[in-house]
Symmetry: C2
Subunit: 262 residues, 2 copies
């Protein structure tokens, strides 16, 4: 049995059921390459679970998961992942491989950045269109720009995840920079200096920061260490606008500009 | 201090941090009207927290939350909610009221049905367009139909939540019925008998069920007790198609019909 267990957000994001399942497992693996978890303390997690946690690399999970699958054929194996399991394709792949090898699988859910970010900003999650990832400059794709443009056309919100590579996580400042760079090429009036944007930094951690303001103002603001995330609000219900003002300190005149424009 | 704590999904969905915060609170409230949590045992939760949990009604939260706000002015108050907090507008409202009354607030996240349902089906969450709720027949709205039609035009997936009233939760069968009824009026070729749909029942519970098949087949299938949820898949990546086949027992020919059609 291979049980995928979400670590959620922050250092104590695992659920009671997740912890119990990990305690009952014979072997516990974890991957930490799909997201950064601010404040995660592996030694503390190992003490709670009562056994060592083997950290596996992307290479092992994607190319060479035989050890994991063999262990799961023999007994109970837990596989810990940041956030909610299966949000990353790499987990779905591993689950399919397990199924093909005749290994039963199970998922124990936990908080996901997508739902958390909407909630922290007070934006209604059902009004989010599809999301995209802002890529580093050496791997440029216009997808986040196009997805945002299409969502805005409908008045929907857009969540933009920020690229993550080995030990390097993109900051919201870099992301705004990348998107303003795309604007200069594509000229769709999307990532203009006045565009209302929102930043969520370290969702789920006790030093979490949320901010909403003009693109130009957020561009140089310091949000502290990653992980960061960018949101492009679409049409705002008045409760959403008030939440952005109260919880993300969006200036009234910026909200006004946004409401008039849409 | 008013701390919103997610109960996640299932009976042990609260995070370690959520449990700790509730244990440290002077008063603990819970609302259970925005979602059903299968298997939630309040007495067990009270034992874990070490103090009574006061269940509050929608009327109290939305019209008369003074008791909660007064307690939060005096000391630490925890407010437990199903899933991830702030997904329901009613929580954002309460958080804004608290802020206006000078009460500091905090959110402790947990699993949300939206992320969990995508993961259970193996569908990529970034490919979901906006979502909607299938209403009971006496409160009909064409919004879920229109949102689904628009999402399908773009190849995006759609998550359809099912209406919940007091003790009555809509089943996936009723939801398919309602949507087929709308099809008969609106004739947009969306909820046709052959349309590929997916059902998630009791996400996060140990007896969770996921299924994908033609609308006509799911219409009369028994998924067990609620909560249920409906998903309308859009364009499928081959890994998503395989996941629907392996984990949701979608018949090959139904997937084939879907892939050819899009």
């Amino acid at each position: 049995m291979l049980t995928f267990i979400g670590l959620g957000l922050g250092s104590e994001g695992i659920s009671l059921r997740g912890l119990r399942e990990a305690q009952e497992a014979e072997v516990v693996y974890a991957e930490l390459y799909t997201s950064l978890i601010p404040g995660l303390d592996i030694a503390q997690l190992e003490r709670r679970i009562g056994k060592p946690v083997k950290i596996v690399s992307r290479k092992i999970v994607e190319e060479n998961p035989q050890e994991i699958l063999e262990a799961a054929k023999q007994g109970k194996v837990s596989f810990l992942v940041p956030g909610d399991p299966m949000v990353a394709t790499t987990h779905v792949d591993l689950r399919l491989r397990a199924a093909r090898a005749g290994v039963e699988t199970k998922i124990i859910h936990a908080a996901s950045i997508a739902s958390a970010a909407a909630g922290l900003l007070g934006l209604q999650s059902y009004k989010f269109g599809p999301s995209a990832t802002v890529p580093f400059l050496d791997n440029l794709s216009t997808r986040p720009y196009e997805i945002t443009a299409e969502n805005l056309r409908h008045g929907w919100h857009t969540m933009l995840f920020l690229d993550l590579r080995e030990e390097r996580a993109m900051t919201a400042n870099e992301a705004v920079e990348v998107m303003i760079g795309m604007e200069e090429k594509l000229r769709g009036e999307i990532f203009t200096p006045d565009r209302l944007l929102a930043v969520v930094a370290r969702a789920g951690a006790s030093d979490c920061v949320v901010r909403a303001d003009r693109a130009e103002s957020l561009r140089s603001e310091d949000f502290g260490p990653p992980p960061h995330l960018l949101v492009v609000p679409g049409r705002l219900h008045f409760v959403e606008a008030e939440a952005l003002e109260v919880f993300a300190r969006a200036p009234k005149e910026v909200l006004q500009w946004h409401m008039n424009r849409r």
